[in-house]
Structure formats: structure tokens, C-alpha cells
Symmetry: C2
Subunit: 156 residues, 2 copies
Amino acid sequence: MEVTADMKISTRVELGIVALADIAVNSEKGNTVSSAEIAERQNISQKYLEQIVLGLRQGGFVKGQKGSHGGYVLTRPAEKIFLSEILNALDNNILADTYEADDDQENNNIRASVNSCLWGNINNYMRRFTEQMSLADLIKECQNETTEKKNYMYYI
Amino acid sequence: MEVTADMKISTRVELGIVALADIAVNSEKGNTVSSAEIAERQNISQKYLEQIVLGLRQGGFVKGQKGSHGGYVLTRPAEKIFLSEILNALDNNILADTYEADDDQENNNIRASVNSCLWGNINNYMRRFTEQMSLADLIKECQNETTEKKNYMYYI
DNA sequence: AATAAATCATAGCAAATTCATAGGAATAAA
DNA sequence: TTTATTCCTATGAATTTGCTATGATTTATT
């Protein structure tokens, strides 16, 4: 994800989280959730969705059951899936661990600092925020949408 | 900036901030700073830099003096230029004011919430952070790079 | 065994975006 | 008039993104 490119979420990441939340909500009794169901509920092209869910499976969040009456279930409870993990799986650029200094050290003091001060700071916030927010938290927030938003406090 | 895609800064924004900082630092006695100077100091293609500085001028941060011995100077002190303004000028997606709900309200409760909860939160942080950090602050941090990093606290 | 329903995997493509390169017009100082 | 600079626009290659499409594979059901 480029903070560039826009502080705008990519469709892939957005739909990935949506799909995972949909699976979490609709597989509560152990039944599987098919991509066709998700596609209809969330109004997404099914084939496109399948590609995205592929990433979720490769990331280890869901497992798929092939065949008739197949579908997806979570591999672990939504309380133990953190948004940071999802972002890393679906978009490996979005959460960089570190911003390494540039190689030629002579002239780019300013340039290196822009990265470390500004983006490092924002990236740290984003990482911490997503590391502490689980899929279950997100779903809870969806259900409480009308209630007052909490204030979060973070040390950066 | 797409948190998509990557939480990675675009070259344009990065070089824009770098160029502006360079101008701020090197025009202290009222002298102009030419794009050739900046390009050499920061090791950037001059022609590419000119395009970026064009955006800075259109954003009202610098004014250019044409002709021999021309160059750029800030239009106001670095203390009064905030990073949020630069981001908005160079990348109009990076700091969205709001995340408007999607149009068809029936099925996409989850989808709307992903945007408002997750990206709204991160975007708010980013906006507040960049609204309170001036170009002068950034330059100061560059000069204190070896010193211990401060901890910032924010309410989101 | 046959059928149907679903995942799984890959290829491809149009549009947009990004990162530059290039050429030259306009302007101002010397 | 020369030189140095900003200013402006066109162009293109490479990448990314969002999406469509095709079909192989697997499993449950009849």
C-alpha cells in the first residue's frame, strides 16, 4: 500500500477483509461459507472474490473445502486474527518493518530523514494499530456503528 | 497514497518534501535556490525535479524567479508550512477528509465499516500528525538525527 | 458411475498510475 | 545578445490494479 499513492485502501485489501469478516460471521455454527454466498451478500464479482480468498487461504486464515456443499471456514477464531496479519498477507508492502537508510550516505541526509521521521512514524502507528485490532474487534465495531466512537490513545 | 498498495511513499511526494526542505535550508539569506543546485545536492534528475517543484509552486509554497541567477524561495517561513499541506498539494488522494458511506446501503454494512473503522482511523492519525508537523520541525529532526527519538502521544 | 457444486490455479487484458525523459517557450540578468 | 533559469507540455516505458475468463481438481449426492 502506498501512502502514496494515496492513503486509499486497495480494493483487494478491502475486499479481503470484508470477505474474511463475512466468513467469520456466517460460519458460526461450523458450516462452510461459499464464495458464491459472499459474492452475493457483499455484491462482488464471484471470480474476483475467489482470487482474493485465495490469498486469504495462502495466508492461513481460512481453509477451503472443495466439492458440493464446500466453502470456507476460519482456521482460528476471529479474536486471534489481527488486521496486521491480513494486511501483510494481501499486500506485502503496506506494513514495512523498518525504513532502512539509503545507500549513498553523503548527500541525502534530508531524504533519509523524510522517510524515517514522517513515514516511519505513520507506519509505526499503522502497525501498532493493526496489531492490536482483531477481526473480532472490527466486526464488533460494525455492529455498534451507531454508538459513539471510542477514543484510542497510542504512544508512538 | 494507497495504504494499499502499500504503505509506501510515492517518489513524487518524497522528493517534493525533500526539495522544499532543501530550498528552506539553502535560501536562508534570501538568495534563490535553483533546481540545478537541488538536483545536484539531492542527486535527482533535474528535469524530473522541475516537474515536482512545479507542483510546489502551484501549491503556493515557493515562488520562482526566472532568468539568470533565478531560482526558488519559500513564500512563507518553514514554520508555517505543514506537511499536510504539502501532501495535499502533491498527492490529492493521500489525505481524504472523510470516508463517505457506499451508495447501496443494504448489503455492505461490513464493507462500509472496514473503511470507516480501519482506514478512517489511520487516515485521521495521519492527518493530525501531518497537520501539526511543520517543515521546520522536519528539518529540525533531520539535524537531530543522532539524538534519541521523542515519543509522541496522540488521541485519535 | 454420473452429475453437480464447489475450490483451486493461472492466463490475460484494459485502464490507470508512476517515474521519468525530452524539447522548447518565456523570462530576466549580465 | 547571450546565458541561465523557470515554466509548460508531450511522450513513453514500466508497473500496478481491477477484473474477466477458462478450466482443472475435488467432493458430496444421487
